[in-house]
């Protein structure tokens, strides 16, 4: 065995984070489009399609996040010390938003008639959340955390005055809207809902541009903020190139109103290449320059136990996830609203 346990651990976690980002983006974006539709009187076009998608999956989305942060502390306990101490405020704000979002979603769907205020909160929190969560990635680039009496402290002024912070915020928001719009275009098209497809397709095209521009901008800014990381990014240039080509493919298909399914698959590939490219180039640091994979790693016995638990868990989950996808996402009758649903 030549692969380090550290690497297995981080790949598993990074994959779950990727899963969370994709699923949550769809969810956040859908909430935003829903609210936006409500306030521009286009609600009748979108609400049905969005609710149909969101209803059965919101808890599952949340679990991906929980899985990620529980796993990080399991595989890399020292992250609790560095990130836990410094991130109190930003992560608490993110929790607050998540809590309001999750609960009001359930309250509204299962509890009562829809209320404009809820929908608004739901939509707004969907934009603020990626912004709040993306701060974690920004901090990991280093330069914002310094040590005081042996304890890490976050320098808020440096953080909020850095252009890197704000580009990552903008990227996270526009990527959320872009991913969500492309997915929902496909979903609406499957449901044979022509007006919704047309509207969502427009949103997809609108948000494509800011996404790619900020992504490029961030690479450029890293050159000054963290030259070491920048060098490693350049070394993986081919991954970002593939990602760019896939992006063009998605936009082209959506533009030509063709094969929305394929368009979404290309988008998946685009983000996968960019996300893993970014992750690999971050290696070996978890927090520049304080913490690497290797000095934060748990003991071998725990690592092996976690990996075994993970494999056993997947064996249980994959069939169940397949079941829920078959019943809801890919069930023609359910998607188009023909099948009787009740709760």
């Amino acid at each position: 065995m030549s692969v380090d346990l550290e690497i297995i651990g981080i790949v598993v976690l990074w994959t779950f984070l990727f899963g969370y980002i994709l699923i949550a983006s769809i969810d956040f974006g859908a909430g935003f489009f829903n609210a936006y539709g409500l306030f521009t009187n286009r609600q009748h076009i979108l609400t049905k399609i969005i609710q149909r998608y969101l209803s059965p999956v919101w808890e599952v989305t949340n679990v991906f996040l929980v899985f990620f942060f529980v796993g990080v502390v399991g595989f890399f306990p020292s992250t609790a010390f560095y990130y836990g101490t410094t991130l109190l405020v930003p992560v608490s704000i993110a929790i607050l938003l998540l809590a309001i979002r999750g609960s009001y979603y359930a309250f509204e769907t299962y509890g009562s008639r829809s209320h404009k205020g809820y929908a608004f909160m739901y939509g707004l929190s969907g934009l603020l959340l990626p912004a709040a969560l993306s701060i974690v990635l920004t901090i990991s680039e280093g330069g914002f955390v310094f040590m005081q009496n042996g304890n890490p402290v976050l320098d808020y002024w440096a953080l909020f005055s850095s252009p890197l912070t704000w580009s990552i915020v903008v990227l996270s928001v526009s990527a959320v809207l872009y991913i969500s719009a492309v997915f929902l275009t496909w979903y609406a098209n499957k449901a044979n809902d022509k007006p919704a497809t047309a509207l969502l397709r427009r949103y997809a095209l609108i948000w494509a541009l800011p996404t790619i521009i900020t992504a490029g901008g961030i690479i450029y800014e890293l050159r000054f903020h963290n030259p070491e990381h920048y060098e490693r990014l350049l070394g993986l240039g081919w991954m970002f190139l593939i990602s760019g080509v896939l992006f063009v493919g998605t936009v082209w298909l959506v533009w030509r109103r063709k094969n929305y399914g394929v368009a979404f698959v290309l988008l998946f590939g685009q983000f996968a290449f960019a996300f893993y490219g970014y992750g690999i180039s971050h290696y070996p640091y978890l927090l520049y320059p304080h913490l690497t994979l290797y000095d934060s790693f748990t003991n071998e016995a725990m690592a092996i136990a976690l990996i075994i638990a993970f494999i056993a868990g997947l064996a249980l989950l994959i069939p169940s996830l397949y079941l829920i996808l078959r019943l809801f996402l890919f069930n023609k009758e359910y998607v188009s609203g023909k099948s009787k649903q009740e709760h």
Binding site: V66, V70, F107, G111
Partner: protein
């Protein structure tokens, strides 16, 4: 370096979050089992009332799950945010059950989603019922795994500490620590018991408020029966918990029982208050009872607080918490046994308003017992966060903004608490049983 203020506020915030989460979590663990029982009885007896019972409980359950999930996510992150030093150490040894908890919950969430949206999809009702099994298993295992983490904090094992570094870590041994069997069985049992009495409380309330429908009567009898069964189990596991404490955490037991001097044939102090001089007044003293609780023999020696250093004795106020918990247990077993026995015998005093009010009270009381039990267990572990290894103050964050976060989260819990109550009452008030039964044309002669 310890930041006293951060320690203080981290403790309060942890207490508040866990005390809030535990209400929803307990209901989340217990109610799926009750839904399953009702659904099963309904199918077997071909009685629509039970089916509707399962349906309506499920609807309410979804709301409590939602709050359970968001507060659970909160506490999961707060453990790292507020106790980074503790998590850095504990993560090395006890991360495994925490990791498995997410799988258990994942499993539950998926099948709950499916169960909810497939009420009328199956020809064969048993197939639909089958979907509930993973929900109930997932929920219960969430509780099992997270309670294992907590039992490890009480009786840490499975590693050696050399110069503050962890060596020879054995995650499996850490999971199967001495506190685990009693803690897990007591916690899971109390969750079933509490859920049963909370649902009984609702049924009794509807009956008092004038609905004389057989539906509520069936619900009441069913929940009282389930509640009775689990109360018996928790009396047993509670007794075993006492024996566990006597052996592994004698300072907690001694503080809870106000047992100051190590003696044989120890008496049990019930109720009572302690004045400023540390004298116990108005207490009931039962000879030999503490020796029996601790070791199962009337003459056994029970270790008292005199054996411990001043700064390692937990707060003596946990005595009151212990009394509340045990008192509620005794009360609920009496109420439920009286109710079931009288139904069997056809005695009607259990149908009086007074008795029904008692049952209504049982719901909130068992929740209070859950809170009291957890506060007893957690405060009784002080000053340790990991007993004998790490003090609570050493585990806390050094961040200066905890006070601000405390205010924010209190606001959140107020909103969530009020929101969930409003939604639940509105949901059932707008859709009374009588109307729903009529709509389903499922009313059997009553």
């Amino acid at each position: 370096m310890i930041n006293e203020e951060a320690v203080y506020y981290s403790r309060i915030l942890t207490e508040v979050t866990l005390s809030f989460h535990i209400i929803y979590a307990t209901i989340g663990v217990g109610v799926p089992l009750l839904i399953m029982i009702a659904h099963w009885v309904g199918i077997r007896k071909n009685d629509n009332h039970y089916i509707l019972l399962a349906r309506r409980w499920t609807r309410g359950y979804v709301i409590t799950v939602a709050v359970g999930v968001v507060t659970g996510t909160t506490i999961g992150l707060q453990l790292s945010l507020l106790w980074p030093n503790f998590m850095e150490l504990a993560g090395n040894i006890i991360a495994l059950p925490m990791f498995m908890e997410t799988f258990a919950f994942f499993f539950e969430a998926i099948f709950l989603g499916i169960y909810l949206y497939t009420w009328d999809r199956f020809e064969n009702q048993y197939k639909h019922l089958l979907l509930l099994i993973p929900v109930a298993i997932g929920a219960s295992f969430s509780a099992v795994f997270i309670t294992i983490v907590n039992s490890f904090m009480n009786a840490p094992q499975g590693f050696d500490l050399v110069n503050g570094e962890i060596v020879n870590a054995n995650p499996i041994l850490a999971m199967f620590n001495p506190a685990m069997p009693t803690k897990v069985s007591h916690v899971v049992g109390t969750a079933y018991m509490t859920s049963a009495f909370v649902l009984a409380s609702i049924a009794a309330f509807r009956l008092i408020k004038g609905s004389n429908h057989i539906y509520h009567k069936k619900a009441l009898l069913l929940t009282m029966k389930v509640g009775f069964v689990f109360t018996v189990t928790i009396l047993i596991t509670g007794d075993l918990s006492g024996k566990y404490l006597a052996e592994y955490q004698p300072e907690k037991l001694a503080a809870a029982e106000w047992h100051f001097e190590t003696t044989e044939s120890a008496e049990l102090i019930l109720l009572g208050v302690m004045n400023d001089e540390g004298e116990v007044k108005y207490a009931l003293r039962i000879p030999y009872a503490l020796s029996i609780l601790a070791h199962g023999s009337p003459t056994a020696e029970v270790i008292g607080l005199d054996q411990f250093a001043e700064d390692e004795i937990p707060p003596l106020s946990i005595h009151y918490l212990f009394n509340i918990m045990v008192g509620v247990g005794m009360l609920m077993i009496t109420i439920s046994i009286l109710f079931i026995f009288s139904k069997y015998r056809g005695w009607s005093f259990v149908d009086t308003k007074l008795f029904r009010w008692l049952i209504v009270l049982g719901g909130p009381l068992t929740i209070i017992a859950i809170e009291a039990g957890w506060w007893l267990a957690e405060v009784g572990r002080q000053p340790w966060v990991l007993r004998g290894i790490m003090r609570t103050a050493e585990g806390a964050t050094t961040n200066n903004d905890v006070d601000l976060m405390l205010i924010l989260f209190c606001g959140l819990y107020v909103i969530l608490g009020i929101g969930s109550i409003v939604i639940l009452t509105r949901m059932f008030r707008k859709n009374p049983v009588e109307r729903e039964l009529a709509e389903r044309k499922g009313d059997v002669p009553s």
